[in-house]
Amino acid sequence: MLATALLADSSGQALAHASAWAVYVVGAAMIITGALGVILLRNPVHCALMLVITLFGIALEFIDQSADFLAAVQIIVYAGAVVILFLFVIMFLGVDRKEAIRSEPTRFQRPLAVVLGVVVLVEILALSRVDHWATGAPSQAGALDGPGQNVQKLGQSLYTGYLLPFEMTAALLVIAVVAAVVLSRRHNQSAGEMREEDQEEVLSGTAASQSDHGESQ
């Protein structure tokens, strides 16, 4: 009886283990495929769609590490807003034609870029082996496990310990919206002058109508 219960428990654990690995492998394959697509495909629209694949893979890895809220936000904000913004700009500007990827501005730029990317990767992996980046002090900002949902703990930490940064993100978003409006506005000089002339015409028109009104009275 006990042996069968233990066997069932261990088989359940093995199943959970295997499913965690399966999710990891599928997510990793999506991430690497999407990243290679972003780098190598010529059409910017295809690059944006491959970026969506990478972002979904990242969301899978988040779920695999039980960061449920962040996985949802990842899909909503990144795949739902950021990539759509990219696609809007691509379509709006009409640059969905192929990039002349063969024409290099400078010689040796592309091989040098590949070499530098490999150097970056090797450096990160080597540094992660030789040095301890994390202090190892657990639960500095609050425990991740324990009772309660992931969203609940995240919200409590966000609205207590990280309240000032949270308020500053609100200011940052407002500044970004204003900056986007200012930057993407058509600001040629004649438009402002025309507007002032229009205002003068309107003012003179109202003044004339008022004087007409006065004369009629």
């Binding site: 910017p44 890895e61 950021v82 990219f86 700009v89 995240l154 930057l183």
Partner: protein, 101 residues
Amino acid sequence: MTVPSAWYLILAAVLFGLGATGLLIRRNVLVMFMCIELMLNAVNLTFVTFARDLNDIGGQVNVFFVLVVAAAEVVVGLAIIVAMFRRRAAATADDIHILKG
């Protein structure tokens, strides 16, 4: 028992390297922006991995802030790209000098 965190860190390092390589290879400004998003996501994955490793909610809160900053950055960057396209119908990194003055 789940996947050890070293695997996630290796995956994040590979993703960061791919993003950096793409940023250096491509000349289309929009695609360069997408490569920056790849690198940001690699760092987010590292944050979540260390949050699980150290049993600390701070890593996930930091991912939240990175998401907000990335959204603001994309909005401003795409506005700059649109402003650049107003001057010239091309979006390579060599054309950024037309934005001066």
